[in-house]
């Protein structure tokens, strides 16, 4: 992890002055060598799900080929070997987040499950009628609907912190939403649509001052920047593996152990119990209390491999590389006549939502696809944000660690092609 060289001299997307060799990185991702419709694949849909490096693919294959068995039932060699690898992945994730201990890391299937877990356990136990939960206007449905369900059930109040028209999160506006009734702030670290970043550390400080806990939806945040949960001081942090170059079906919920230990189980079943009788069941301590049934064993081990992969590259290096690509993309795309960026906050990650004047986003994305450029189109599971911005949807290019200036050029060329074909 000592591969970081001075980055300040690097031009936008120019990797020549850094240790981050994007061509070497690209060679780690077999899928990037393929073509679609006879054209080189330009994958810009990383915000939906990222591609997998050989380290992850090989790791998953190795588990199945060499030592797969169920975990925590160690009566035989393979089970012990699988259990060791599974728990090692938990340690890897804990270190990556800088959690105090691996017992603060619960494996979940994704961020959606992690947020539902907090709502269903901590929320049901500690929230009552009139208690306030604050979210923002730019949340993913996964950080809206669980709280609405709880509102139906418990009568909590859901408050929506506003964003500015350019997609910027403004701390002062958020602060105005906090009251002594605020019990939880459930907030994205980075908008999946706009790329706008939220200053989580300040949000946490202000929220704690009011006695509220903070849950961070890190689905888009953790892939673009280093995360240190102790420094952020958040109470919960959720992320998913498949956006972090790991397998699908695995994510993690970090929670401060003292908070987790106050929470009742999420689901009942095997592996989360201490002792079961027909009269009464007692439960394990966190994190196992929240992991009922056979966990996603191979996916968790694969997530460990993905975390090791990005940690080896260095999140600071990845962040700097992507920042360069974003700067170049902004410059290149905004020069296209009729190109309109949606979300232009001063502090944003490498995500560009856009519209092309006079063209339907669906048409644009379809032509882009025919040019080999994979993007996402639609509301991006953020319908309230679309309503807030007064639009029906956007085309979204979300960049990852393996994207290059050439990818941006291909995107720009494909947008010009869309204009030519559809005008």
């Amino acid at each position: 992890m000592s591969k970081i060289l001075p980055l300040q001299d690097a031009g936008p997307g120019d990797n020549s002055l850094t240790a981050f060799d994007v061509e070497k990185v690209r060679a780690d991702f077999p899928i990037l060598a393929r073509e679609v419709y006879g054209k080189p694949l330009v994958f810009l849909d990383n915000g939906a799900s990222a591609q997998k490096p050989r380290a992850v693919i090989d790791c998953v294959r190795e588990v199945y080929e060499s030592y797969y068995a169920n975990v925590h039932r160690g009566a035989h060699y393979l089970s012990q070997r699988s259990t060791d690898a599974f728990e090692e992945a938990r340690v890897t994730v804990a270190k990556f987040l800088n959690a105090k201990t691996e017992d603060e890391v619960i494996f979940t299937s994704n961020v959606t499950e992690a947020i539902n877990l907090v709502a269903a356990t901590w929320g049901r136990k500690f929230l009552g009628e009139g208690d306030e939960v604050i979210i923002t206007e730019m949340e993913h449905h996964a950080n809206i609907v669980p709280w609405q369900l709880l509102r139906e059930e418990k009568g909590i109040v859901l408050k929506i912190a506003p964003i500015r028209d350019n997609g910027e999160f403004v701390l002062e506006d958020f602060k105005a939403c906090l009251t002594p009734r605020t019990k939880l702030v459930a907030i994205t670290e980075c908008s999946n649509v706009l790329g706008s970043r939220v200053p989580i550390k300040e949000v946490t400080r202000l929220s704690h001052d009011q006695g509220a806990l903070v849950l961070v939806d890190g689905a888009q945040g953790i892939v673009h920047q280093p995360v240190d949960v102790q420094d952020l001081d958040c109470d919960f942090y959720a992320f998913t593996g498949h956006k972090l170059y790991g397998p699908s079906g695995i994510g993690a919920l970090y929670g401060k152990w003292d908070v987790l230990n106050t929470m009742p189980p999420y689901q009942g079943g095997g592996d989360m119990i201490e002792r079961v009788t027909f009269e009464k069941t007692t439960f394990k301590e966190p994190p196992y209390r929240f992991e009922a049934g056979t966990p996603p064993i191979v996916q968790a081990i694969g997530l460990g491999a993905a975390v090791n992969y990005v940690a080896d590259l260095g999140m600071e290096n990845i962040s700097a590389h992507e920042h360069g690509i974003l700067a170049y993309a902004n410059e290149r795309l905004k020069a296209i006549e009729g190109f309109k960026v949606v979300g232009d906050a001063p502090d944003k990650a490498a995500i560009i939502s856009f519209l092309v004047e006079g063209l339907h986003p669906f048409d644009v994305a379809t032509v882009l696809d025919r040019q080999g450029v994979a993007v996402r189109v639609g509301q991006h599971c953020a319908e309230p944000l679309m309503d807030r911005l007064g639009i029906e949807g956007t085309v979204r290019a979300s960049f990852g660690l393996y994207n290059t200036r050439e990818d941006v050029d291909a995107l720009a060329g494909a947008i010009e092609k869309a204009k030519e074909l559809l005008a």
């Binding site: 419709y37 339907h360 048409d363 025919r370 189109v377 949807g393």
Partner: protein
């Protein structure tokens, strides 16, 4: 019991035209051209109501059904050009059919209209349109029976 399918001349024209184009990109552009040439006046604003809206589409799609002498005449609109091209192909292909004929149209017919130029998602969209036509026919039967 199989229904004799007639009145599929327009459908056959589309299939023949697409078969003549052996380049996938050209077929794709053919669909775009159909969308661009579609006459928006055929689907007036008053038709763009929720009752005519097809749900579950990534772009908005409205379909209206007029029945004359026991035959269905569809019209449709989408705010996206490519979808409008597909809608036009579907409504022109399967207008003028009786209810029985319409119900006899299968996924295979729709697949012939694709010829590899479309992603699976678009093909699913076209299948959804066929199912929508067939649903409109059943609904017409039901309301006739209720009268």
């Amino acid at each position: 019991m199989s229904t004799e399918l007639s009145n599929l001349e327009r459908y056959q024209e589309f299939v023949d035209s697409l078969e003549l184009i052996d380049d996938e990109d050209m077929r794709f552009e053919y669909i775009i051209d159909i969308g661009k040439r579609a006459n928006d006046d055929d689907f007036p604003e008053v038709f763009k109501v929720d009752a005519n809206l097809m749900h579950g589409c990534m772009s908005k799609v409205w379909i209206a059904d007029r029945i004359e002498d026991g035959r269905h005449y569809f019209s449709g609109f989408s705010d996206a050009i490519i979808v409008k091209g597909l809608v036009t192909m579907m409504i022109e292909s399967f207008s003028g059919l009786t209810g029985d004929e319409l119900q006899a149209i299968t996924a295979e017919h729709v697949r012939h209209l694709n010829l590899g130029a479309l992603t699976t998602q678009r093909q699913v969209g076209m299948m959804a349109m066929l199912e929508h036509f067939q649903k409109l026919d059943r609904r017409a039967d039901e309301s006739q029976a209720a009268e």
